[in-house]
Symmetry: D2
Subunit: 233 residues, 4 copies
Amino acid sequence: MAETPYRTALIVGAGSGISASLARALAAAGLKVGLVARDVGKLAALANETGAMTFAADASDPVAVATLFEQVDASLGEPDLVIYNASARVRGPLAEIDPEAVRQAVAVTAFGGFLVAQQAARRMVPHGRGAILFTGATAGIKGFPASAAFAMGKFALRGLAQSAARELGPQGIHVVHFVIDGAVRSGTRPDPEDRPDSTLSPDGIAQAYLAALQQPRNAWSSEIELRPWLETF
Amino acid sequence: MAETPYRTALIVGAGSGISASLARALAAAGLKVGLVARDVGKLAALANETGAMTFAADASDPVAVATLFEQVDASLGEPDLVIYNASARVRGPLAEIDPEAVRQAVAVTAFGGFLVAQQAARRMVPHGRGAILFTGATAGIKGFPASAAFAMGKFALRGLAQSAARELGPQGIHVVHFVIDGAVRSGTRPDPEDRPDSTLSPDGIAQAYLAALQQPRNAWSSEIELRPWLETF
Amino acid sequence: MAETPYRTALIVGAGSGISASLARALAAAGLKVGLVARDVGKLAALANETGAMTFAADASDPVAVATLFEQVDASLGEPDLVIYNASARVRGPLAEIDPEAVRQAVAVTAFGGFLVAQQAARRMVPHGRGAILFTGATAGIKGFPASAAFAMGKFALRGLAQSAARELGPQGIHVVHFVIDGAVRSGTRPDPEDRPDSTLSPDGIAQAYLAALQQPRNAWSSEIELRPWLETF
Amino acid sequence: MAETPYRTALIVGAGSGISASLARALAAAGLKVGLVARDVGKLAALANETGAMTFAADASDPVAVATLFEQVDASLGEPDLVIYNASARVRGPLAEIDPEAVRQAVAVTAFGGFLVAQQAARRMVPHGRGAILFTGATAGIKGFPASAAFAMGKFALRGLAQSAARELGPQGIHVVHFVIDGAVRSGTRPDPEDRPDSTLSPDGIAQAYLAALQQPRNAWSSEIELRPWLETF
């Protein structure tokens, strides 16, 4: 894996898919890695495999996020790369979905992204360097029926990413919004045998994140969409 | 003013600018009009002028919005046209803005739009007709620096509008997202004398809303941007 | 039909669909109308019905377009409203389509739009008023497979319209690009009986053009998309 | 430089900026490189430095492009990577620019891209693999005043790229449209000393092209924008 200019990565919203591939790729590239989830029990095997540290926090809670970053500073070191990967969705007709579930989905998908980006910015701005990556989705550029809450959350995350890129870029901080434009394969949802690579692979996605981190500041991308070759889009 | 197919309009987030022009235009077109604000005291003159009824409610509170629509049903009549016009913004560097203010701004700008659209949809879907209009902003299509909260809120509102348009359109409900792409003039912020029409007029905006309501269902717009002729965009 | 501020309309690329509805609507609104096609024989009935004058010209030929406008100035009067409605497409795999057919399709769809807009601008700029409307398509915002030539032409037309809007708007000329985002019904392709209004009606489209012409300069749209209520988009 | 899955690259529209950096990077990665320009005299030093072969052709001429590819097949080998980098612009008010110059600019910027992509597709489709890259510009996503011809050409190129990506992607051919969103530095236009990296570097752009070529087919980008960190966009 090629070198990145970063040393200490924090992945918020860690689980088994994209975030696991990112943890492996970043650790292989020599970075120290921290993984954040509400329930860190599920992260034990990944932490063991990659040497990552784990942290428990609710990313949509301002106090919890502030405390998280203090713990990370103290135990892992101040992160110069922060990735926001958490999201939640509510499916159902607009007339029927539960308002509290919608509020909570937007809080996890977008407000948590703001809280994490804010703590990251506080640490990166004084140094004039760092990177903040957001995992977006098709739902962030196109609002689908019966999916109002996910559209709201992922659109809001994209708005946050654009605002952050325009504000923090000239301060030396690379902000990138990834549009994951297709289904991501997993152990429980592999590709059909006759259609290899018909879904996005977490490792392929992680490779694109790493490539973005290697961009020199004279040729930065701020939004990168990814989809499998067979996807009609 | 040309006829619209609607009879009873509810404007949520009513004040002195766009919403006042809408109230006048809709009343002049023969619709019954309801005006909603947290503080209805400021609406007295407008209500008196247009014959509109006023309702006090916090649009970001699920219980308050449900109660509001019950009151509207009982006193004004079930609305077949609902306009969401409320928003809030927080300005300042990403690293410094107050998280609670950001949460509240997103709640007013976007979550309230969801709550109102949901109540509207519950009433319109059974009839297979109605219209839901959202007042968006430049911030909903481009995230500006030092304006993360407004970008999040207005992007989320646009995602909601797209999801609602794709879901409710085929059920006969016309959903339109307006992109107010420029400054709106007001009594306290008139145009410079040497640059007439250099800002958006609330009456011009209201005319565009009315024109959208007159579109036949075989040629609907779902997003309409508006800006003054002198605006570089 | 409500009044527009324009008096003399020229529709380039006239035939039986959108342009016929426009001719009727503009004539009904009191404008003098000129219709331009390569073969004006097919326009006789429409001209008779609406009182429009007809002009034969190849819109992709610079000399023919210059001559056309001189004829229009002399016989109909200088147009203060010009609508570009011509297009051509070539379907087939990228590897197989005929380059000369592609060249010609782009010439008709986009270069002709430039030639017509240029002649229009020459007449409108000195007066500081006028309107130029372009009929775009879904293909102008999304490039479809096996349709490279149409994508090239309609994308180019949209680029022209944006450039013209930004340049000519502050000179008092309203430039609008319409995205016709769906199939347009016709005598030979009516709606299925069980799905009324499932395609765009030419009259509904024409109504949207007329509504745009009535916008005050303090609240102009520069792009308006139109689709039928049942369209999934 | 990391490995790419490609062996033989053809760069059409070769000169001193982006294309020179691409030639160096691709040669360093082990690919055979062909450079195409109308005037190959200016390419001698670069060819000497990189070992690239040079070919003279007018990219906007169908016969010349067909002949070019036959020569390349015979002397360099059938290319499995083709990059279209040619463009032309005409500046000036819409009412004044010369129609023949506009026609020629669109021919070089977009029609030539079609001709080259078509020849590339004919060679790549039978093998089910290959890559076609297009060098776009800000002008391809936003039409600027007094720049109608460049907007038309670069919009058309983007439409072509989208159509080609959707058609050829599922046939194993990776099509990418790069949006070069800022000024590119050159020997005659270096960065100001007090604003390092304030313009795009050709080497940084070339690195992004190479990174795209290394994407696995299960996580492809089809559009990648690049700008310097100090760019307000």
